[in-house]
Amino acid sequence: MAHLYGSAPLPPPSQRIPLLRWCRENLFSAWYNAALTLGALFIVCSGLYGLLTWALGARWEVIPVNLKTMLVGTYPADQLWRVWSTLYMVALLCGFSSGLHRGLIRQVAGALALASLALALLPFDWGTRAWIAGIALAAGAGFGLGKATPVRWGVRLEWVGWPLSFPLTLIVLNGGALSLPVVAGSDKWGFVLNLLGAAVGIVLSLPIGVLLALGRRSHLPVMRWVCTAYIELIRGVPLITLLFMASIMLQLLLPDSFRPDLVLRATMTITAFSAAYMAENVRGGLQAVSKGQYEAAYVVGLNGLLTTAFIVLPQALRAVIPAIVGQFISLFKDTTLFGFIAVLEVLKAARSVYEGNLQWRGTIFEVYVFIALLFWVFCYSMSYVSRRIEKNLGVGER
């Protein structure tokens, strides 16, 4: 009401409370809370003390020495520039998009640049440091380019660049085209395989999942039955049995002339597996779209296909972003199972470090802490980005 009378509203009372009062309210509000606080404090302190004493005495040199083995496995050292260049491409694209738009993508690009600069400070040799710092440079260059490009052209370039980056990554890493030699042993690439498998799985399982969800809600009984049967069958069995099937039964199901290699089999399996879960997430979103939306679309004269593509799906997918990202995260985590069918992903590579190398016997804790950190950073940033997207779109606020 204040503006009606022309006077500025009073500032809210100060929310700052003294530290002691905060402690009393949040830690010692009752006798049992005090006991809980002391108990928790004891756990935290003893845990931190143990962790710190261990971390200070740990043989951390095992990580930089074996970093190549864990991240890219047997990828030939003279071809490593191909891995770096794909990283640069992604960094460049991220920087470019962040130069064009504001908001989340800017944070992502910034975090990427900062993370690479921080990594470059770690004790690697100078060549590796230069390569790592180059990521920040590529992101910065992309940012400058994005700022300089007119938005209209920039957006068109984005639409070409991002989809193109995907097959380009596969070709550059694997070779066989663009006069790049084929890199042998594509089932022994360490963490790169986890990332590649997850990326292919994510890109493919979403559209397949959408189709399955639409099929399951279809009015045509045959499609509904087939899609429901597929979804329920896949969701009823563990991934490892499907991988087991892919490793020992696939050669019985396919003709002799067609023998996909292990990585392809693993990726196909994880895509087929994830699509069934994705379908259920999307179905939840489809159910959240009110009937009025369909009716309004028909009244405007859209046919079934157009209604689904432009009216229903955008709303349905927006409603289930957290669930979809959650599925992406679990797909990424599931790529660790690739090791089960003799693909050298990061966990298998890690085991080869502390088991296969006499020099590094007893560094098992260091290795697993590093692997855990690696996964945690990726998964946590994905869930952070999902929460931000959700907030930006205002899901659940309208």
């Binding site: 949040n26 830690l27 509000s29 809370n33 809980l36 606080t37 928790a40 756990i43 935290v44 639409l214 279809s218 009015h219 045509l220 045959v222 499609m223 087939v226 069958l233 009823g236 069995v237 563990p238 991934l239 490892i240 049995t241 087991f244 020992i248 039964m249 050669q251 019985l252 199901l253 396919l254 003709p255 002799d256 489809l286 009937k291 369909y294 009716e295 046919n303 079934g304 296909l305 209604t307 689904t308 229903v312 995260i329 985590k333 660790t336 199972l337 090791g339 089960f340 966990l347 085991r351 007893g362 098992i364 804790f365 697993y368 855990a372 996964f375 945690w376 998964c379 946590y380 869930s383």
Partner: protein, 407 residues
């Protein structure tokens, strides 16, 4: 293509088209024809690809001189299983598979119970008014949920169980005669004595009595047109019979058997192998983090007004929780909880990677011995499907009960 999208209004459109003169619509634009044709084409495509796969299977099997048959299940297994119910290498493959199934069920049941307990505690801790407790719970959830289960299992098995723990001779002794070392966990376990059979009969009688009490009481309630399921009197009847049996029997029906170090190994008690302990620990901690979030969301879903209104009506705090908050919270909690239980069941298959003899592990061993790929995969998948369907059927039944109470 238009046929496979949800078309709530198409019925109306069809009616209009039928009202129009027949020659106005060519058949390839008739929605009825399009529907039928698209389904026929789709079905044909699905059947053709399935048939192609089956044909390949037949050809490949014939080329290898194999046929699908399950007679190998009656052959001697020839490999030992050190875990679970007694198994001898002379037993059959079929019995070996059964041992694997029991091992899976064992880890799943214990895992579900512990994960629910830990998850509920952490979920409530997430809502604590105590900042430190709240933050600790959040840190636990965010750490565990963002790490692959397999990384955690490998950590518990290879790093903790097999590296950090002491050898058998210098085991860690926990209160209550529990011993922990690289071979696993040794705990006291009740053994049946001679009077166990007599007590078992009392237990059976108690069960029969409980059923009679339940049915009678339920019929009485129904006649009085009152809601409710008289589980408490039925359980009381069962407990009473059990206690009477315990007193009547000449000695205690069970005797605790304590593990003790004899020579190079422990004797007595129950041995839980290192891989079982690691698998259980990994599954429980991983699933509990997800359950904690479900419990937190469920409690938060009950609006504060409900509690306040219940208090205003003069209900005691316990009654508020039991009659108002829990029924509504459980309604939100049960469906996602059921899917977490299913996830735990399916995740228990990672056992094979840390050497626990679950059904996939035994199945793979049998496959390695006999070369029966198709049969073993069929058996493993069907077992998991049955387990999944059983769990979801149970949870659906419970969910319906909860809905009845909620009304």
């Amino acid at each position: 293509m238009a046929g496979c999208t949800p078309l709530p209004l198409r019925e109306g459109v069809v009616l209009q088209q039928e009202a129009a003169p027949a020659h106005a619509i060519p058949f390839w634009r008739d929605i009825r024809f399009l529907r039928a044709a698209s389904q026929v084409v789709f079905l044909a495509a699905v059947l053709a690809s399935l048939g192609w796969l089956f044909n390949n299977l037949q050809t490949n099997l014939r080329a290898n001189g194999l046929t699908i048959s399950f007679t190998f299940l009656n052959n001697t297994a020839g490999f030992p299983i050190s875990e679970g119910i007694a198994f001898d290498p002379q037993d059959t493959n079929g019995y070996a598979f059964w041992v694997g199934v029991i091992n899976t069920i064992r880890v799943v049941l214990v895992g579900i119970a512990l994960a629910t307990l830990v998850g509920t505690i952490v979920g409530i801790a997430r809502l604590s008014s105590n900042w430190l407790v709240r933050t600790l719970a959040l840190a636990y959830v965010e750490t565990v949920r963002n790490l692959p289960l397999l990384v955690q299992l490998f950590f518990w098995y290879f790093a903790v169980m097999l590296t950090a723990l002491p050898l058998v001779q210098s085991s860690i002794e926990l209160p209550g005669s529990i011993f922990l070392n690289r071979r696993g966990l040794y705990i006291p376990w009740p053994l049946a004595t001679e009077s166990a059979a007599l007590w078992g009969q009392f237990l059976l009688a108690g069960l029969a009595l409980a059923i009679v009490v339940y049915v009678g009481r339920r019929a009485h309630l129904k006649r009085a047109d009152r809601p409710g399921f008289p589980l408490v009197p039925a359980l009381l009847a069962l407990t009473a019979m059990a206690v009477i049996g315990w007193l009547v029997a000449p000695g205690a029906p069970f005797q605790l058997d304590y593990p003790a170090l004899q020579g190079r190994n422990f004797v007595g008690g129950l041995w839980l192998s290192a891989s079982f302990v690691a698998l259980l620990l990994g599954l429980v901690l991983y699933t509990a983090a997800f359950i904690a979030e479900i419990v937190r969301a469920g409690i938060q879903a009950v609006s504060k007004g409900q509690t306040e209104a219940a208090k205003a009506m003069g209900l005691r705090p316990g009654q508020v929780l039991r009659l108002v908050v829990l029924p509504q919270a459980l309604r939100v909690i049960i469906p996602p909880l059921a899917s977490q239980y299913l996830n735990l069941t399916k995740n228990s298959s990672l056992a094979i990677l840390i050497g626990y003899y679950d059904l996939v592990n035994v199945g793979q061993t049998i496959f390695n011995q006999t070369g029966r790929a198709v049969e073993m995969i069929l058996m493993i998948m069907v077992t998991y499907l049955v387990l999944s369907l059983l769990t979801s059927a149970l949870m659906n039944y419970y969910n319906r009960r909860i809905r009845l109470v909620e009304r």
